[in-house]
Subunit: 459 residues, 2 copies
């Protein structure tokens, strides 16, 4: 009676032990990757240069090109198998030197507001614009007021982000239409310009920029963001004096498109060089900060994955490719150019990972892929437990890799703690000194670990 049990055990054990041995080896490799990331702050130093020596770098500008050359130089210095620039035609918008807004009230006096131009806004002309202000909180309200109440005025969009949302991204998502669509909607009713409460669940006076969309069928009008505290102030003054006037002036300008680049570096795969795992973030950033969290971090973390492989002497089976994408902020042309080139060259991407949610402490991964790929990634959760990664869910990935979805590539976003993100997002506060080196490094290590598992087991 006992023999069959023993026999079954003998048959079973080796399989069990194999799994266990593989898991142990994976654990050891992940631990080495984390140690390498935490002990050698190369990514943090690269971010320092990108942020403090180059700084804000919206696509089309000289700063963006300086960043392209810098990242190319960094990659070339690593002796990767391939480093190249991928051409991308981008819009070219310059902020100019003037962006001011002053409130004039006969009752209350005058006050200058903390403002900045929204990305791709037209300027006001040298004379500026001075007009009465109509405060609204959504497009229904705007339409209800109608042309008679809007024409010849400045529209003030002042719907606050909802602080009670646990996810600040949700709060942002529900207020950002004022920034993206406000100018277009107000122009339809004859507004002269718009001033928009910063789309962020914060209370300070950093105005938050970000792209707006004009419609071909509607006249473009100037649009600026105002700090949330000053939005509250303007609203309070308007209650006291509905006929106050706002004077605004901006000399931002849209110029002809120019050629820019994605920067790409790779380690060729030892077994399947034709199959690619791509990762990184976007190199362009808004111009009023240093583009540290958004998204210098993602760029240097992507490069650090390659560095970690080199430092540990690891040879990937598949080709590993770090990309610094150009133009996430305005029109995602870098994303499109990358996906088109991949299609043209019939490249097979077996996985794409983007880090573009700020360099806060990593929580896990959001996966936009087939159910079986999602389950596979979830099965690796225990390997990441020692590193406090707990979020492994279906969800969005990143704007720069999203264009690969049509090609069937499993897409993954590094999820980081979101609570501080809108302290930095699209404002002057997005600076190198507000990135914590450990948090940046933990993000690079988490992605390196995931790349290793995809390279080893596929998706």
């Amino acid at each position: 009676m006992r023999k069959p049990v023993l026999f079954a055990l003998i048959l079973t054990l080796p399989a069990f032990m194999q799994v266990s041995r593989a898991q142990n080896q994976d654990s050891v490799i992940l631990r080495k990757m984390y140690t390498e990331a935490l002990m050698n702050p190369v990514a943090y130093k690269n971010l320092d240069y990108l942020c403090t020596k180059i700084g804000g770098r919206i696509c089309g500008t000289a700063k963006a090109e300086e960043a392209v050359q810098y990242i190319k130089k960094v990659m070339e210095g690593m002796k990767l198998d391939t480093v190249f620039l991928q051409p991308v035609m981008v819009k070219h918008w310059e902020r100019g030197t003037i962006e001011t807004a002053t409130v004039f009230s006969e009752k209350k006096g005058s006050v200058e507001l903390h403002v900045c131009a929204l990305g791709t806004s037209i300027g006001t002309g040298d004379a500026g614009i001075k007009a009465k202000v109509v405060e609204v909180h959504n497009f229904d309200e705007l339409k209800a007021i109608g042309r008679s109440g809007i024409e010849g005025k400045i529209v003030f969009f002042n719907r606050a982000a909802d602080d009670s949302r646990i996810s600040p991204f949700e709060a942002y998502g529900r207020s950002v239409d004022q920034r993206t669509q406000g100018a277009m909607q107000a122009a339809r009713l004859g507004a002269l310009a718009v001033i928009v409460r910063s789309a962020a669940p914060v209370h300070n006076n950093f105005p938050h920029t970000g792209v707006l969309h004009y419609a071909d069928s509607v006249k473009a009008i100037p649009a600026m963001a105002v700090g949330t505290n000053d939005a509250d102030l303007l609203s309070a003054w308007l209650k006291d004096d509905p006929s106050l006037k706002l004077s605004m002036k901006m000399n931002c300008i849209n110029l002809p498109e120019v050629q820019s680049s994605n920067v790409i570096g790779e380690i060729r795969g030892s077994e399947h060089p034709e199959e690619i795992i791509v990762f990184g973030g976007h190199l362009d950033s808004w111009d009023i900060g240093q583009g540290a969290h958004d998204d210098g971090a993602g760029v240097v973390q992507g490069i650090d994955i390659l560095r970690i492989y080199q430092a540990l002497g690891m040879k990937p089976k598949h080709t590993l490719r770090a990309v610094a994408f150009m133009d996430e902020e305005i029109a995602q042309r870098g994303a499109d150019a990358y996906a088109e080139a991949a299609k043209k060259k019939s490249e097979k991407h077996i996985g794409a990972i983007e880090a573009d949610r700020g360099a806060a402490v990593p929580q896990g991964f959001s996966v936009d892929a087939s159910d079986s790929s999602i389950e596979k990634i979830k099965s690796w959760k225990p390997l990441f437990k020692p590193y406090n990664l707990w979020f492994f869910e279906k969800g969005g990935s990143g704007a720069d890799i999203h264009a690969l979805k049509k090609q069937g590539t499993p897409l993954i976003g590094l999820v980081t703690d979101p609570q501080r993100y809108f302290d930095f997002h699209h404002c002057a506060n997005d600076t190198y000194d507000l990135v914590n080196p450990r948090e940046l490094e933990l993000g690079a290590a988490a992605m390196a670990g995931l790349v290793y598992l995809i390279d080893t087991y596929g998706l």
Copy 2:
């Protein structure tokens, strides 16, 4: 055959529905608590006053007493059922006005280091101390060098915290003995003074203070901390010039003990007023920063739990007690006084929660209690999922509530993300502006939710 099944269903459903209804109600209450915490930044404003108007407040000092009076006033303004001061005798150490250290090398020149006195260190006297330096990394090394190599010298403890540890608390824990025991161990071998690398896995020039322990049997010698970057510098200079001299001067001083206070405010329980749930943090802080993360945050979060109950019109069954403990940093006298008073008055504490790990984003709770209490708290995990709490584990609680363990009280520590904590800990960088309001509020809400569940279901 179908009837028994139906019958079973009829019997089962109401019980199932009851559970579900209770869970739903709990979810609704937690959501209200979170909204209240996030929408009304009272805790953040209280922290502002405590940090920027009062500032650093080590026990025994005038600043600590100012803080006691301020917190009492805040609690009195809330119209709680009881507000009182609980007397605590504390040590009184003053940092003084001078703390300098300068390296003199005939070969390399001279350089001033970023230093501060360790808490309760004696001063150097007006003449200061100037002597050769012996660098060591642990007590074994110190003993191996022995009296002949140590006598008449300054010992430089320079074991770095291990950056590769995922938990910075672990890195700290493995390096902090140099700070707490270094002076005592070096004095045994005749050292004149010690200079200790800051116990923190960071690379900057904020020296980190913290308490040291002298032994009655050994002569007290002066002890200072040096920033980690300057520790590296001193080490490099010593390699080049082993006979360099360090000149140090401090006029810190130990004075007679004084009376101070724990500050206590409570809402009396409607059903079991004699049973208490206690929560809070410590009011004293190191003097070189503002005591924002450590631990003004815990104090204002504790008070916010009572405010949330009031704002939502909730009447707890058990007595809820917020405590601002005095003297966590030097000798935990407030913790002892609180536990002794509880014992004397035969108070029954059904739960104690401390927030003293920095006001970063909350991860969950560390529970020091019976297995059944731990399981009960783990069973509430799904209720906290919408708030991204994922850590519910057996572990340490907090230094201020630990003395209640002997009385059988279940002890709980709010666990927050630790990655940035040693950027602030015990140094000049622990300031109000480095506390994020949302993270502070999420911590208060998490504790309020736990208090509600303990009040409703016990532990």
